[in-house]
Subunit: 167 residues, 2 copies
Amino acid sequence: MADRIGAGGPSLLFLTDEQLRQGIEAMYFAYRGFTADPDRILEEHGYGRAHHRAIHFIHRSPGTTVNNLLSILGVTKQSLNRVLRTLIDEGLVEARVGTRDKRERNLFLTEAGEKLERALSEVQRERMRAAYREAGPEAVRGFRMVLEAMMDPQMRRHFNRLKDGEE
Amino acid sequence: MADRIGAGGPSLLFLTDEQLRQGIEAMYFAYRGFTADPDRILEEHGYGRAHHRAIHFIHRSPGTTVNNLLSILGVTKQSLNRVLRTLIDEGLVEARVGTRDKRERNLFLTEAGEKLERALSEVQRERMRAAYREAGPEAVRGFRMVLEAMMDPQMRRHFNRLKDGEE
DNA sequence: CTTTTATGTCAGCCTTGTTGACATTCCAAG
DNA sequence: CTTGGAATGTCAACAAGGCTGACATAAAAG
């Protein structure tokens, strides 16, 4: 015990390599749970996580452009285009030619798109709600703080912009 | 303000759909950061996340079997085998025939394997350390609590078994 | 001896990422 | 008005890493 204190003090025990490694594994296993429920629904429809991400952020920012979506998702336009094409062809997403700049496409969910979005976010929120309830409000604040500190600066900007957009 | 209290009380504000959605987005963006640093190193070596996961858990439990790894990673043996084959062929992993049960293969990292593991976990721990330091010990406890509550029961069992194995 | 288990391997498919090349549309600067 | 460049779409090809199904082998278990 004395040597542990000598190694940095009890207040820094949460920074030991062992603690950090447990945090890494917790992050890995938790993310598996985080995606498990939506994955099941997506599979029924023949979609994947890429479709989920597009649907989520279009729902979140109706009328967003392809470029903005590319910046949030961090993939190539070809990848995103393939996903968007499917969603548009199957009537979940509508792409309206931009009013100000006609080169841009403003993306919206159709009624069918909104319906799938609700189904996906419902199960994901339910898992989050159960975890939040079990851990309590104080833990949730800590959870949010650590996650935000873990983001790349550019992702943090996107995160905060989305957050502040609907306060 | 009064209607918010009426909607469930101030202590439950962390369970509003808006709060839950922010938690979902935080999880998504943070996971991107979480994997970004190892991904860069892996790319230099021509490996992917699947190799990282195998290396991590073999390092974590030297002598583990293929079956145990399958159960932790939740992929098919064909998928895992492809990754292990590469790692064995390139001299990062050694597969010794089991002593007790000769059908089993006990997996170990070679010196080269341990070296890559150190490089990968170093950058990942560094990001985790920075986030932990910024958020503080209380936040880290909350972070861990929420993540653990978010896991599927089977993953939580794996997580706790790994955790207790090296206390 | 037969069955089950642990593992490996081959073939083929899917999603989702990548790069490169090229067409179209259209704003904006000259 | 013309032209350059930006935003977008599209086609082709490729790779990683999931998946399923089928089959082989060795060894443990009954």
